[in-house]
């Protein structure tokens, strides 16, 4: 994809692309168990390729998720989408800008910026990351977690450096596999965002997938025929057997099917093109519902007032909830719960921080979290944002019941 962008930006091409790109490389060696020497080697290789490309480049290590601010998980408001006229105006202003920069600088897509590279991650962060990934029980959950963290990291880099769009290099084959995998993981509600051309769930930064019409075979041939330099790194699931994770299984399934029925991938792809991003029934037009903490899609689980949701949640949580140490309120939990259906927030979730986080996740992310026995190794920004949101929700609830719940409020111990 990088090569194609280069081609598109070059002065000789007929339809010149008009944007200012940068490249980000996320070093995930720690999650994959790579040794520091191997990682350094891979990063050096990547640096060489990035430098030869000439765009401003950023190398970020996955460990930096531990220093991300909770604002990453918030959807920022975006300027309203323009019409045809706005597009022309934007192109014109861009051209004027380039012209103002002077002819001699036009060979560089944007004024040369020093390559932004934070210092190498600290050993503490690397260890925290390996602890996190080794605490995950299944490979499926590991891959999903990696994907989520990587998205947040790239989003953060984009926001900090003022990029409005992120281009991902997902090919047709990869997206077909991703579509089927998402279905299997319970993310069916978000297929349109996960596999569509543009993904605006983050608000100010749009994720686009320009390569989604090219199959992997085409990409492979292109790379080979145009001698595109590549950097190889092991992934989380390298050398794992076929049934190790849902991702691997689905990949093997689709590719094997493709070998027998060559229209498999394109059929799945065409079907994914028909997916429409529609708001949930029952949501007032214009007011988006609460968003998932991790994937930032509008929550697809039943709202709090639904009887089935309450029943399902309570039955799945009661066996798990153990009274934490030094919690005098434990005996009163059961009577509070059965009493008021609407005030479930204030009595159940405060004793169980895990339940508080799980509540804010969509179905797919919840299933994932089941494979994470403890939420402590998660990067602090996730836990902080979860806390903030639940406190905000509690505050809203308490607004209504201010008089009745005065006792509970005073009696709640250890609320920081």
């Amino acid at each position: 994809m990088l090569w194609q962008v280069l081609e598109g930006l070059s002065r000789d091409s007929a339809k010149r692309l008009r944007f200012v790109p940068g490249v980000v490389y996320a070093d995930e060696g720690a999650a994959c168990g790579q040794s520091p020497e191997d990682r350094a080697k891979t990063v050096a290789e990547a640096k060489l390729v990035l430098q030869s490309v000439g765009f401003p480049w950023h190398i970020v290590a996955l460990e930096e998720v531990f220093s991300l601010p909770p604002s990453v998980l918030r959807c920022s408001a975006r300027e309203p989408v323009g019409t045809e006229g706005a597009y022309k105006a934007a192109v014109d202003s861009f051209l004027q800008q380039q012209h103002a920069l002077g002819e001699e600088q036009q060979s560089l897509p944007c004024p040369p910026r020093p390559p932004i590279r934070a210092g190498p991650p600290t050993a503490g962060q690397t260890e925290a990351l390996s602890t996190l990934f080794s605490s995950v029980e299944t490979l499926t959950a590991k891959e999903e977690l990696l994907r989520t963290l990587r998205t947040h990291l790239i989003l953060h880099v984009a926001r900090t450096h003022g990029y409005s769009k992120v281009m991902m290099g997902d090919s047709c084959t990869r997206l077909a596999i991703k579509l089927m995998t998402s279905l299997a993981l319970g993310r069916g509600a978000f297929l349109a965002w996960d596999t569509g051309f543009s993904d605006e769930r983050h608000g100010d930064v749009v994720v686009v997938r320009p390569m989604r019409e090219h199959t992997l075979k085409e990409v492979a041939f292109y790379n080979r025929l145009f001698a595109v330099p590549s950097v190889f790194t092991p992934a989380v699931d390298t050398k794992a057997p076929e049934k190790a994770s849902i991702h691997r299984l689905m990949e093997a399934f689709i590719l094997r099917l493709q070998a027998q029925f060559p229209s498999t991938v394109s059929t799945v792809y065409r079907t994914s093109e028909k997916l429409v991003k529609a708001p949930r029934d029952g949501c007032a037009a214009g007011t988006p519902g609460p968003r998932c903490l991790l994937c930032m899609c509008v929550l697809d689980v039943d709202t709090a007032d639904s009887a089935t949701a309450f029943g399902a949640q309570t039955s799945s949580q009661l066996p798990q909830t153990q009274p934490p140490v030094a919690q005098a309120e434990a005996p009163t939990v059961s009577c509070c719960c059965t009493g008021m259906g609407g005030a479930r927030h204030c009595c159940r979730t405060e004793e169980d921080p895990r339940a508080r986080v799980i509540e804010q996740l969509c179905y797919g992310c919840r299933v994932n979290m089941k494979d994470l026995p403890s939420l402590d190794p998660l990067p602090p920004y996730i836990l902080a944002e979860a806390q903030l949101r639940s406190q905000r929700a509690e505050a809203e609830q308490i607004q209504e019941y201010l008089l009745e719940d005065r006792e509970d409020e005073d009696a709640r111990p250890g609320e920081s």
């Binding site: 994809m1 084959t173 990869r174 790379n223 790194t233 691997r248 590719l255």
Partner: protein, 109 residues
């Protein structure tokens, strides 16, 4: 009766920017092999070559590369930079100085 052949066998992978690609770690990290196939009764074709590779070049986990008679689905085979599907796949007969390239498009292998 086939004379000994000299072919070049190479292993590569596809890079997906935005996702990590995988080195074919099955072959000790060595990407290009100049191979001399011994003379034998039947002419050398890709089918025999795969058997030979399995016996001599694959260091571990053969099932990640070879499946049954052929390569695993998801591994592209290029013979002299041309898709092997155009040349008869397994039945293509090797010529001297041919270049065979295996590209893995799989995520974890």
């Amino acid at each position: 009766m086939a004379a000994p052949l000299s072919v070049e066998v190479e292993f590569g992978a596809v890079v997906n920017p935005g996702k990590r690609a995988v080195r074919s770690l099955l072959f000790d990290g060595v990407k290009k092999h100049q191979v001399t196939l011994p003379g034998q009764e039947e002419p050398w074709d890709i089918r025999n070559l795969l058997v030979w590779i399995k016996k001599n070049l694959l260091k571990e986990r053969p099932e990640l590369f070879i499946q049954g008679d052929s390569v695993r689905p998801g591994i592209l085979v290029l013979i002299n930079d041309a898709d092997w599907e155009l040349l008869g796949e397994l039945d293509y007969q090797l010529q001297d100085q041919d270049s065979i390239l295996f590209i893995s498009t799989l995520h974890g292998g």
